[in-house]
Symmetry: C2
């Protein structure tokens, strides 16, 4: 780990372990949104200790403005930060960026998790290289929480892996289940595998093999089987597992439909004086609905399958959204998210071994 | 073509060509929903002639009840029909089903298109075998119209092809463009290829090769490039092209989100007397919004790439929805949908030839 400068107040206790390392410079509203978000987090999480990476000249006045944030933060100065549009390959070469130093802190055990609202591509690349993949996991995935009619659903992968094989899907199920336990607090989350129907000719071979493997695994009792697109918001299962391409399209399609509905609804309420009065009468209910669907409540996509907690806040988030991302990270740190995955994997290693795959699991007939 | 029985009034003019062959027995509400839907279609489409396949004992009293339908229909009796839950393989063995006879009528040139609200899997299988694929098209696809903030969008494939290569995607673009011309009446529809971002590391090779092929094709000026999930409802392009797995998930996810929004909204309006009054005030606007998003307006998924017009109505549709499916079929028949595809393909055959593919288009680097 390469430290550029250690301010007087930081890292004086050499053995101090921080709850989180936070990238102070990542995101459209950084650094103020980050510091304001941490101020709210200070009230929600007792005993939280944050290592705040970034430009001290910008961060210190903000900590003065938000004393609650100051009470939990230790600044670690660096003047490098990764621009939002920088390619991952270039970002990897920047050794002193605030995002990299935050990852370094997790890798060295100095912090238990990292939160950044910065460049997603750079974050995934750095997480893989610096924090590294959990033993027994072939590829990290991106998970997030979404609203349903009943409650919340954990969905993964949301774009980290464009192409997946059946083993990746089974690993996603393991990671998604641990995530739903840690963040949604469910004792035995149910798991669905996203498909396009249950008919004989539908779906592809990797889905059928993954389903078969899950039915024989310690997760069998929680595995619901195949689910379809409409099951995501119906809350049919607590976890929905899919490849990164499909998951990303589903997530963004859902966001688009919600935006369309909101836009059309706004037009309805602006349609003349009578509608405007109607709007005023239903507004309290609408506010509650808006809160339920508020993307900020769901801010915090998580890279799961890494040797540490890595949470990505949306780049365009406000302080409230950033606090939500910190909440997710703290839930994962506090509830032993990775321990839960490790424990589960130790009971599934035979199932996921390549030998087993070669002999028993490869489809006999190639998929058309 | 195997005729079971020809009632007195049918096929008396041996050269008569019907606009559509309609499966009178397909769908949850058949046969009444079908006949009622045809009654409304009779008013909308001047000169429409329908060959109605099904059980005469059930159909004739309904035609007496709906004289407008009677004025356009010729019954062709058969007492076989395909149950909604029958497997495609079994359905193919049923030679005298109302759905099969409707397809036969198209294959023999007796009708220009077919509409059925029956079993989807059976319908796709029968369409491929009886109506057959258009020369130059490797695989038929399933297309449909969806609402956006701006207008309508044509999306395909929605589930006919789980796995696709770049050439399939280019063919879908050709078919989707012709569909948008015929059904939406657009002179030069824009085309987007569904992906998960435009960044270097995102998407897969078949998408990049398909995009490159479209940029060099006669459709180049209409090709917008990659679009993402949220672009579907934003109306970024008139046509969205994707593989059948992703398209099916996106469609059903969108339907699910819309259903969630509607359910939450209903709760808002039922929240006490004040909200109920508010609801009454905004109801006219809400009705318009509901109409805009009405699934019946979008009823009629089309199997494109076949030697005839094949339209699938939703199995659970009402009469109004069935009329919408007939509208789609009539638009395609009237506006020379297949001629438009044939014309376009004749200018693209070199581009789509396997030789070209082998030499120039195969990705140099395998996709990870």
């Amino acid at each position: 780990m390469n430290k550029t400068e250690i301010p007087d107040n930081s890292l004086s206790e050499q053995d101090e372990v921080f709850s989180l390392a936070v990238d102070g410079m990542g995101g459209d509203g950084a650094p103020e949104v980050v510091v304001a978000g941490l101020a709210a987090a200070a009230e929600r999480h007792r005993g939280i200790k944050v290592l705040l990476l970034g430009d001290e000249a910008q961060l210190r006045p903000l900590l003065a403005k938000y004393p609650k944030a100051a009470s939990i933060c230790t600044i670690w100065h660096t003047d490098q930060s990764i621009p939002m549009d920088m390619k991952p390959t270039s970002a990897l070469r920047m050794r002193q960026s605030s995002m990299r130093l935050a990852m370094d802190a997790v890798a060295s055990g100095r912090a238990r998790g990292v939160v950044s609202a910065g460049n997603s591509g750079a974050m995934l690349a750095l997480a893989k290289i610096v924090v590294k993949t959990l033993p027994g996991i072939s590829r990290p995935a991106m998970a997030a929480i979404s609203p349903t009619i009943k409650g919340d659903v954990v969905m993964l992968d949301l774009g980290a892996n464009v192409a997946c094989d059946w083993r990746n899907l089974v690993e996603f199920a393991v990671m998604g289940e641990a995530f739903a336990k840690a963040v949604l607090g469910l004792p035995a989350p149910s798991i669905g595998l996203l498909n396009i129907g249950s008919e004989e000719l539908k779906g592809d071979e990797k889905l059928r093999v993954a389903a078969e493997a899950l039915r024989e695994s310690p997760l069998a009792s929680q595995f619901h089987g195949f689910v379809e697109g409409h099951d995501i918001t119906a809350g049919t299962t607590d976890v929905v597992v899919t490849d990164g391409f499909t998951g990303n399209v589903a997530l963004k399609t859902g966001e688009g439909v919600l935006k369309m509905a909101t836009t059309l609804l706004r037009r309805v309420f602006k349609r003349g004086i009578v509608s405007k009065i109607g709007y005023l009468l239903v507004r309290p209910g609408l506010e509650r609905m808006k809160e339920w669907l508020d993307p900020r409540r769901y801010n915090g996509a998580v890279f799961v399958g890494l040797n540490g907690v890595v949470v990505k806040s949306h780049g365009g988030t406000d302080a409230e959204g950033f606090t939500a991302a910190v909440d997710v990270a703290m839930d994962m740190v506090t509830h032993g998210f990775n321990d839960s995955i490790r424990d589960r994997l130790s009971h599934m290693s035979a199932l996921l071994s390549p030998q087993q795959n070669a002999e028993e699991r490869e489809p006999a007939v190639p998929v058309s």
